[in-house]
C-alpha cells in the first residue's frame, strides 16, 4: 500500500464517517425554527393573523346568482359603520 492509500483508509474513512454522523445529527436542528425560551429576545418580524373568510367564493360570482349572502359579506368586509372601541380584556406578564 502506498502512503496515499494508507492515508485514505486510516484518515479519510474515519473523517468521512464522522462528517456523515455530524450531518445527520446537526442538519435538521439548524434548519428548524429556533425554540423560544422565556427571557430570550424575540427577533422575528411581527405577524398579525386573521381567520380565513367563511366563504371562498368571490363576492362578484355570488352577486351574479343573486345570493343574499353576497350582500351580507360586503357589509361584513367593508368598513364597519360603527366600529367598536377597545373597552375590555385582560393583560398578563410571564
Amino acid at each position: 500500500m502506498s502512503i496515499w492509500q494508507t492515508l485514505l483508509v486510516f484518515v479519510g474513512i474515519p473523517i468521512g464517517t464522522l462528517a456523515l454522523f455530524a450531518a445527520v445529527l446537526l442538519g435538521p436542528g439548524s434548519a428548524r425554527t429556533p425554540r423560544y425560551r422565556p427571557g430570550s429576545a424575540w427577533q422575528f418580524q411581527p405577524v398579525w393573523y386573521l381567520p380565513h373568510p367563511e366563504h371562498s367564493e368571490p363576492v362578484s360570482s355570488m352577486q351574479a346568482h343573486g345570493v343574499v349572502e353576497a350582500a351580507n359579506r360586503l357589509a361584513v368586509h367593508g368598513d364597519v359603520a360603527e366600529p367598536a372601541t377597545a373597552s375590555g380584556g385582560a393583560s398578563g406578564e410571564w
Binding site: F44, P46, W48, Y49, L50, A86, G88
Partner: protein, 139 residues
C-alpha cells in the same frame, strides 16, 4: 400549506433587530390557523392574533391595534403577544366585550401565561383562543 393562506396585515410596528422572518414552523402555523378559524366560525366574532413587539405602553398599543381592526371587521377580539417583553394583551370591545367578560379574559390570559412560561407560544395562543371561543358561545 394552510398557514400561508392566513392574511398578513402589513402596517404593524417593526421590531428593532430582525434575524428571521418566520417565528412559526408550518405545523405550528397550521395549528394557530385552525384554532383561529374555528374560534371565529363558532362564535361569529373576528379573532385576531398578533405576535411581535408592542412598543411604548403595551396596553395602549394593543388598544390602538384593536381600533384599527374594528374599523374593518365587526366584533373583533385581539390577542397580542410580545414574547420579547413577556407581555400579553387580550382586547375586546363592543359586542365581543359583551360576550367575553373581563373575568373570562383574565382566565384565558392565565392559561396562556402557563404555556408561555414553558416556552410554548403556539400552545398558549391555541389554548387562549379555545377558552375565549368557549366563553363567547355560538352566535
Amino acid at each position: 400549506m394552510s398557514g400561508e393562506a392566513i392574511e398578513r396585515v402589513k402596517d404593524v410596528p417593526r421590531a428593532a433587530a430582525i434575524i428571521a422572518d418566520r417565528p412559526f414552523s408550518p405545523v405550528q402555523l397550521s395549528r394557530i390557523d385552525e384554532a383561529l378559524t374555528l374560534a371565529s366560525r363558532e362564535t361569529g366574532l373576528t379573532f385576531s392574533v398578533y405576535v411581535g413587539e408592542l412598543p411604548g405602553n403595551a396596553r395602549t398599543t394593543a388598544e390602538e391595534m384593536f381600533n384599527k381592526l374594528a374599523a374593518q371587521h365587526p366584533a373583533p377580539v385581539l390577542l397580542a403577544v410580545s414574547p420579547g417583553q413577556r407581555k400579553l394583551e387580550i382586547v375586546t370591545g363592543g359586542e365581543s366585550a359583551r360576550r367575553i367578560p373581563n373575568r373570562i379574559g383574565g382566565l384565558a390570559a392565565l392559561a396562556m401565561r402557563a404555556s408561555f412560561t414553558n416556552g410554548d407560544i403556539t400552545g398558549g395562543i391555541v389554548n387562549g383562543l379555545r377558552q375565549l371561543a368557549d366563553a363567547a358561545g355560538t352566535a
